[in-house]
Structure formats: structure tokens, C-alpha cells
Amino acid sequence: MVIDLKRCVGCHACAIACRAEWGIPVGYRRNWVHRLGPEKTPHGLSYTFYPGLCNHCDDPKCVSVCPVDPEERTFKDPKTGKKKTIAIHATFKHPFTGAVLIDKTRCIGCGSCVEACPYGARYLNEELDDPKADKCTFCVERLEAGEQPACVKTCITKARIFGDLSDKSSQVHKIVASGKAIRLTSKEVNIGPNVYYTGLKKDTHLLIKKYAPHERKWENVMAPTRRDIILAAVRRLKTAV
């Protein structure tokens, strides 16, 4: 996804359309808008926005910290129909689309992935009797039904461009290939985020200054203790009774 900050007016329609589409309880979010500035930058006074969501990173640290044992699963390439079987944790990166997803039936709700994400893109839904991690899926279910992601469909200024980065004819590919798009990375944290931002220099400058992560949070994730896991299992059993 590419988000054009020149077009974004910071209206929050994306954040609410996502909440409505997926019934995300208030207090949690998959999709957000933060306001930045007005603040001085070397390129002039900036007043811009951070429309954020999961970056579906190339090297998703949330996946590598997932303690749930891998299980084999067969994936299909939506473009070619080609199949591939790989072993996945409860959260995994789709081998064809690149989307980072969660297998809710296997997620044990330990919260490791939530802690690991340097972007704070995940949350643990503790409103459920059986808490689960949750995050943006790029609206994979809607894509399968031939729909656009909810945030893209509602974006009032068409600031969000969604497409297949590997398809050279796609608009997203062209923008990214032009080198004009930036990503929220730093020397310390560079895990290949797949949400790109374009905009005036002052605005991308401020966005990177404020929101490019520096903390390698995944390195501090403690593997869940036995206690955590037992508690999770007990919680599940309790709801079963």
C-alpha cells in the first residue's frame, strides 16, 4: 500500500471504516490516524498525518516470536493457482501475497507478537473470553470477494493506493520504483515494511522523525512463561465449561 500524504487531509474515515468493517472494539485499533505538527522542519512548517496500519513486513518479527508450534499448511497463489505447503506459526506471512496474518484458531493469546511489533500495529483483544491477537489483514477476506480494503474504499481523497507490489504494471509498483516513496525505517529497525508514504519533503521528514521506530522491540520479547501458557489454556478450558 502507498499512502499519499499530499492527498491525505487527516479525516479519520479509514480508521472508522476499518472499525466498522471488522467490529473492532473501542480501545483497540487496526488502523489509525495521528496528527503531526504544525512543527518546524528543515524544509518548512509541516502539519501532516500518520495514517498507520500493519506494514506486513518482509521480515515480520511478530511471526518469529510466535511460540505456537509450526504446523504445515497449503497456500494457493491467488494469481496463478500454484500451491505451496509450508509450516506456519499461529501468525505467519502468506507465501504468495506477503500479507502477515493470524490463524485465530491456533493463536493462544500470549501477546508476544503484540510486544514484538515495532510499529504497535497489533493488539490483544482482551474483551474476548479467549483473548486473541488481532491486526490489519489488508482486508484479505474482502480482496477474495473482489472488494477493496475497507480503508481504501472509504478514503475521501483517494490518498490510499493498494495493489500488488510484485506486478510491474501496478500503480504501487511504479510509485515505489520511482524512489519517491519512503518507509518508516531507521538504522536500528529495518524489517522491510510494505506500507509506503509519499508526500512533501517537510511532511515525510516529520513523519520519519516522529514515527520511524528505533527500538528493536522483538529482542525484548520474553518467551511466554509456563505460567502464561497454563493460564491461557485454563482460560480456554473455562470458557468451554
Binding site: 468493517e21 481523497t157 480456554r236
Partner: protein, 771 residues
């Protein structure tokens, strides 16, 4: 057990449990919050889609309500709409939470405590309507028809307006929409261009403009989908953007030229710009010659208004002012001079400021052309007698409208005059207020005076959806259906992408709420008025659709909306304006006839008194007025407002970003606590907060006391001498931190042309406030 093995075990235990879940034993709560339908499709996929029209704000975007098992799960834009297609804003998306807000007014209520106390008894509809009708009759019999006054806004208010009209009061419409908002701009353009270039909507073609001028229009902070998207299309096609605003607003962030003007001096800038383009020959001579009247008078009137004269008044650099006007002039005639909407700023000079904007557009020949001001497209729509109630009432011997402000009657009765009449009985007693679709205590300046006036009334009732401050102060509250639960009239849109559509219910009304038509019809019956004969509002809709060759059924077969071909532009030779002269009036003789300035003059508004900053306000994109602050999703997105404070000022008085302060205005009134946003993006002589926060209704459980209300700081107002609107930017505040009063340092030198505001009671201001 080794940790790894344990993990494996527990993970498979989980898998086993999950399998159990899948067997559908019904013992588990769903693992994910799901709105899945019968076919098990997730999210809003597979929902039944019902076309309708949004009313989260007055722009009224076409929508589809997505319904699963009788419950509204999502709202999207109507894909058939050429104005917004599938897009809706944050508020449009949040209509779902208006219907299901647990704080909604559910049943008719009767006040049991003191006015404003919020003590209620649930009553039946019959009892509520009988009581309203009885009081309307009683007041009318005792004091005459003009003792009845109706404050109205939005779609829900339209039918009931007819009842007040039929009862014979001149005060049948007092729309805060005009007297607190667009009135001066609307009047200026009607008299200059012959049509309401800026009213509910603005006929300005930003989409095809090569340059755009915004004078304190905060597009993106106020969000109306087609308006914002056309503005953005224009910018993305390379239009240059000039923004004039004391605050670095969202559009200022996108501007090519930003002018941080001193508040109250916009007309000086516009006059200087007009003089500059006339002197330099940067105007459209041919257009002015063939399509405008009064050019020579204007030329003479603005002669002394040089850039150098205006620069110290406006506190701008002459070179920036010139650069901006040259940028606009180079784009002529494809230059979008935005006519503005909210215009009730300083009282004196508001109509003139918008007149000057119209004049600038005319001098650029930017009217009736792509990229300029354009004409509404006529839409064939029928009229049903059933939608009407009474004829035009007689004007009393001394009129609240005409005897005070010569152009007020074009819009109704000025709200501030009605408040005064209710308080003083002059020029005649006003004893009953009906309120529909507007929270007057968060709209009309000096809410303290409004509350006093309410206490003098014999009776006050409202039709509302939420328990607003105004509902709190009512004797009877009639719970209205939301726009998602009722039919309304046929809606046509006559801007760049015209269409005809209709509002229809997407779900059944909740609780005991009733549609506006039903309420008006029942009330009319009780008052013995022969109107609203149609039993079902759909009869009215069918009547209105007929001339377009449509019926409700055929319209719905087409997706609930039919686009219409746009006719916004005219060939120059065909240009004709609906003014007496058929031309654009650069000088307005109608104004002259009333001893008002026919050509705008710069009238300075007093600068802040020492120690104070001017309070300005605006919108956040997720809220409409004070109406949506309790909406669960919108509240979550932006629960409270912040006070923008200049960083240099903050540094001098030792205040930091995020700190909580209280404001005290020039009359000693104190605000609720508000957090500071310290930024270089605001002038040192103003502070800013978003409007609509700081609710004083405890029945709005989410919005109550969240943030501060600008409205409760606006106690000083001046009426526009043309049409009687009341000013909102004529109030000044200083900061209270803990028990300490902190004066705002004086960092903006004031030129001799601008007087300072004189504090009424310097002593009381010194010792601190009253409330």
C-alpha cells in the same frame, strides 16, 4: 518437562479446543468479534444494501446502509453517486453508532425538576403532543402569534417549520445556520452575483482551478466529501494554493503561499489586492466591461488601499501579499476564489468581506468558467402540497426582522434578537420556543443569556435525537428518529456532479422514536391545522419524484440515485445574472439604499486587550458541531479538544505542551479544563480550539465535560448590520493555571488604525471571573 515440549503440548491442546469450537457445540463465544451473516461471510460482506442519504452533517452524501439480520453493520457511499461514490467520511461511517447510542432519547420526556436540571418523567406520545399543542395554543391566544419562535436546522426541522408558519408567527425560522454561520456570506453573494453562491453548499470549481484562494476555510478540518475531494483533485492536477489564516490549518500545510494574517483584517487584504490588480491591469477587462456594474466606483474606492497600507494592518510582508495575488491573477479566469461558509466572525464587516471575495472573483472573470464560481444545475423536482402547512405570516407592526436589520427577513429572525425579546418583552413578548435539530446552547453566543431567556419562557420543547444541553433545558422532549430510521424528502444535488436521490430508512426505528413527518402531522392535527394530509410520507416522495419521471420503485431499481447532466458553466456571451442589472454588482445599490456600504470598507475589529488573546475556533474532521461528541466511534477517535497556543508565547509564560489549563474570557467566564497544544502554527495574538466540545449535559455520558466549549467563552457579540447575524470571534481569553491568572504577552504590535478592546469591568477582570 522441557519448555519446548510443553509448548507443543499446549499448542495442540489449543488446537483440540479450537476443533471442539468448530463442531459448533455452542459452548464458545466467537473467537473474533464478528458481524458474520447467515452465509458466514465476514465483515460487511454479503450484507443487504439499502440506498439512503447521510445526515451526519448537512452536506447529505448518498450512502448505502449495509444490514445483516436487521442490524445496521456498516455505511458506505452509494457507488451510484457521482459525487462521492463509495466514499463517506469518518462521521458518515459512524452513523451506525448514532442509532445504537445507549444515551439516545428513547421515549417522550416531561421535565420534573427545574429547567436545565435534567430530571425527567417518561410520558406517552399522546401526552407529549397534547401538552405541546395546548401550550402553543395558550401562548398564541394570550400574546399573539409572534410570541411563538422556532429554532431549526437540518432535515428533521422542515415539516414542523410549516406548523409555526401556519400559526402565523414571523419567527417561524431562526436558523442558527444563517445567523451563526453562513448568513453574511449568503447575503453578499445573492446581492453581488444574484444567487446563493455560498449557502449550504459552495459553487466553486476547485477541481478545475489553476489556483485556489482560501480565506480561513479549513478544508479537510471541515469535511464534506465531494467538496474535499474536488479540492484535492484540483491540487493534484497542480493548482496553486493560497491560504490566508491566523492559524496554520490543515490546508495551510498544503499551501504554496500561506499568509498568517492578523484576525479581522481580511477585508484590508482583499481591498489592497483589488487595488493592485486594477493598477497593474491584472484583471479581466473584457469580463468587467460586459458583465459587471460599478467598476469605476470600486476603482476609486480602493485607490488608497495599497499593499503598503494593508501590510501593517494585516501584519503581513508586502512581498508575500504581492506574490500571492500575482499567483492568483496568473491563473485567471480559472481561479477558485472560495466564497467561504462560516462568516459570522466580527459582526461589522462580515458581509463586506464576502462581498469582496465575490468582487475579486468577478475582477478575475472567474465566474461561470471551469475553475471559477459556477451556477447550480437545475434539477426537475416536484412539489407536494402535503409537505406544506401554512402561507406566509403577516409581519407585526414592529418586526424583529425588518425593523432592526434590513436584510434579516431573507433568512428569518435573528437569533440574538429573539433571545433579547424573550428576556425583555421588546419589541413584543416571545414566550414559547420550539427547537428542532439544533443545540442552541452550543450555537448561539452567550449561552448564559440564552439560559436566562429560557427561564422567562412560558414553554419550551424540542425534537431531538440526543440529550443535548438544549434538551436538558426543554419542558417536553420529543425523541426523533435518526436519518437512518425514516423517510425524508427527495434530495437533489446541483453542484458539479448533480443527481436526484431519496432518503429512506435502512432499519426500523429503535425504541419509541418517531419520524419528523409523523411528529409534525400529529401535532398539526392537535392544533386543528389542515395540513400534512398524506398518511404516509411516501406519497409526498412519489409526488416529488414525478417530474423527473421517477417513482420510488424505479429509483430504487436504479440503485436509489439517478445522476443528472451538469450545466455549471456558461459561454461568456450567454452570461446573465439574476440581479436587476443582469450583471454582477461590484457596487451593491441595495446596500446603499439602506445606508450601508455599497462597496466594502475596512472596518477594524478591536484588538485583544492587554493580557488577552483572541479566541478563534474551528472544526475537527471527525465531528459535526456539538452533535457527534457522544458517538462511540467518533468520541474514541477525538475525545477532547486542545488549545493551540503559540510556542513563543508558551515559552515566555512557562507553559508546556500537554499541560491542562482553564481559560477566562473578557467577561470573567471560565472554561472547563483544556490541554495545551504548543505550536509555532498559530499567531501569538490568538488561541484556537475546536468547536463543539465541553458538553454540559450529563446525559451524554461520553461527551460530558470532555474538553472545553468555545461557545461558553463567547459572551461578547456584535450583530452584522446587514442581516443581524451574531459575531463569534470578538472574544478574548487569558489562561488560568492552578490558581494563577497568566496574562498573554503582547507580541504582535498593533497599528494605530486598530483600537484595542476595552474591558467592561477592569476590576472584575483583575480579580478573576464569576463562573
Amino acid at each position: 518437562m522441557k519448555r519446548r515440549r510443553f509448548l507443543k503440548l499446549s499448542a495442540s491442546a489449543c488446537a483440540a479446543l479450537a476443533a471442539l469450537e468448530l463442531q459448533g457445540k455452542g459452548m464458545f463465544r466467537p473467537a473474533v468479534a464478528s458481524t458474520g451473516d447467515a452465509q458466514g461471510l465476514p465483515g460487511s460482506l454479503g450484507a443487504k444494501e439499502i440506498p439512503s442519504v447521510c445526515e451526519m452533517c448537512f452536506w447529505r452524501c448518498p450512502i448505502v446502509g449495509k444490514v445483516k439480520k436487521g442490524r445496521l453493520v456498516k455505511i458506505e457511499g452509494n457507488p451510484k453517486s457521482p459525487a462521492n461514490d463509495t466514499r463517506v467520511c469518518a462521521r458518515g461511517n459512524s452513523g451506525v453508532q448514532l442509532i445504537y447510542d445507549p444515551d439516545r432519547l428513547k421515549y417522550p420526556l416531561k421535565r420534573t425538576g427545574k429547567r436545565g436540571e435534567g430530571k425527567w418523567a417518561r410520558i406517552s406520545w399522546d401526552e407529549a403532543l397534547d401538552e405541546v399543542a395546548h401550550n402553543m395554543n395558550k401562548v398564541r391566544d394570550k400574546y399573539g402569534p409572534h410570541a411563538l419562535a422556532y429554532f431549526d436546522h437540518g432535515a428533521s426541522a422542515e415539516f414542523m417549520r410549516g406548523i409555526f408558519k401556519a400559526l402565523g408567527t414571523e419567527n417561524y425560522t431562526n436558523e442558527p445556520a444563517f445567523f451563526q454561520c453562513v448568513g453574511p456570506a449568503a447575503l453578499a453573494f445573492i446581492k453581488t452575483m444574484g444567487y446563493i453562491t455560498s449557502g449550504t453548499r459552495q459553487y466553486v470549481d476547485m477541481k478545475n482551478a489553476k489556483a485556489i484562494l482560501l480565506v480561513a476555510s479549513h478544508i479537510g478540518e471541515n469535511v464534506h466529501v465531494s467538496h474535499v475531494s474536488e479540492y484535492m483533485e484540483g491540487l493534484s492536477k497542480g493548482a496553486k494554493l493560497v491560504v490566508v489564516d491566523p492559524r496554520f490549518s490543515a490546508p495551510a500545510g498544503k499551501a504554496d503561499i500561506y499568509l498568517p494574517i492578523r484576525p479581522g483584517t481580511d477585508t484590508a487584504l482583499l481591498l489592497a489586492w483589488m487595488n493592485f490588480i486594477i493598477e497593474k491591469g491584472l484583471y479581466d477587462k473584457d469580463f468587467v466591461k460586459s458583465h459587471c456594474t460599478g467598476f469605476d466606483d470600486v476603482k476609486a474606492a480602493v485607490k488608497k488601499c495599497t499593499i503598503e497600507w494593508a501590510a501593517p494592518i494585516c501584519d503581513l510582508k508586502p512581498e508575500d501579499m504581492k506574490k500571492a495575488i500575482i499567483t492568483l491573477a496568473e491563473a485567471r479566469p480559472h481561479v477558485a476564489i472560495h466564497p467561504g461558509r462560516h462568516a459570522t466572525w466580527y459582526g461589522k464587516g462580515d458581509t463586506s468581506r464576502h462581498q469582496a471575495l465575490g468582487m475579486l472573483a468577478a475582477l478575475f472573470g472567474a465566474v461561470g468558467v471551469p475553475g471559477g464560481l459556477y451556477f447550480p444545475t437545475p434539477v426537475k423536482k416536484g412539489h407536494s402540497e402535503c409537505a406544506e402547512c401554512g402561507g406566509e405570516p403577516e409581519t407585526p407592526d414592529e418586526s424583529i426582522q425588518e425593523d432592526y436589520y434590513p436584510f434579516a427577513s431573507m433568512f428569518g429572525s435573528p437569533t440574538s434578537k429573539l433571545v433579547e425579546a424573550s428576556l425583555t418583552g421588546k419589541p413584543y413578548p416571545v414566550k414559547l420556543w420550539g427547537i428542532n435539530g439544533v443545540n442552541i446552547l452550543q450555537t448561539i453566543p452567550d449561552p448564559y443569556k440564552t439560559m436566562e431567556a429560557i427561564n422567562k419562557l412560558d414553554f419550551i420543547f424540542c425534537e431531538e435525537i440526543m440529550p443535548t444541553e438544549t434538551a436538558m433545558w426543554s419542558d417536553i422532549v420529543l425523541p426523533g428518529a435518526t436519518y437512518l430510521e425514516r423517510y425524508d424528502a427527495v434530495y437533489s444535488y446541483d453542484l458539479l456532479t448533480p443527481y436526484i436521490t431519496v432518503r429512506q430508512p435502512v432499519v426500523k426505528p429503535m425504541f419509541e422514536v418517531k419520524s419528523s413527518y409523523w411528529i409534525a402531522r400529529q401535532l398539526a392535527k392537535r392544533l386543528g391545522l389542515e395540513c400534512f394530509q398524506a398518511k404516509d410520507i411516501r406519497e409526498i416522495i412519489e409526488e416529488e419524484l414525478k417530474p423527473a419521471g421517477l417513482s420510488l420503485e424505479s429509483l430504487n431499481k436504479k440503485g436509489g440515485l439517478v445522476p443528472i447532466k451538469a450545466k455549471p458553466y456558461r459561454k461568456r456571451k450567454d452570461l446573465k445574472f439574476k440581479t436587476e442589472s443582469g450583471k454582477i454588482n461590484l457596487s451593491v445599490t441595495d446596500f446603499e439604499d439602506e445606508d450601508l456600504d455599497p462597496i466594502p470598507k475596512f472596518i477594524p475589529t478591536p484588538a485583544p486587550p492587554k493580557g488577552y488573546a483572541r479566541l478563534i475556533y474551528g472544526r475537527v474532521p471527525v465531528h459535526t458541531f456539538s452533535r457527534t461528541m457522544n458517538n462511540k466511534w467518533l468520541h474514541n477517535e477525538w475525545p477532547e479538544n486542545q488549545l493551540w497556543l503559540n510556542d513563543e508565547v508558551a515559552g515566555k509564560i512557562g507553559l508546556k505542551d500537554g499541560e491542562e489549563v482553564v481559560l477566562e474570557n473578557q467577561d470573567g467566564y471560565k472554561s472547563l479544563p483544556i490541554k495545551l497544544k504548543v505550536t509555532p502554527g498559530i499567531r501569538a495574538d490568538v488561541v484556537y480550539m475546536a468547536h463543539g466540545y465541553g458538553s454540559r449535559s450529563k446525559m451524554l455520558t461520553k461527551a460530558f465535560k470532555k474538553g472545553a466549549s468555545d461557545q461558553f467563552m463567547i459572551t461578547e457579540y456584535i450583530n452584522d448590520p446587514f442581516m443581524g447575524a451574531s459575531s463569534h470571534r470578538t472574544n478574548f481569553v487569558r489562561i488560568i493555571k492552578g490558581n494563577k491568572v497568566i496574562n498573554i504577552p503582547d507580541l504582535c504590535p498593533i497599528p494605530p488604525q486598530i483600537p484595542r478592546f476595552k474591558l467592561k469591568n477592569a476590576a472584575s477582570a483583575k480579580t478573576g471571573g464569576k463562573k
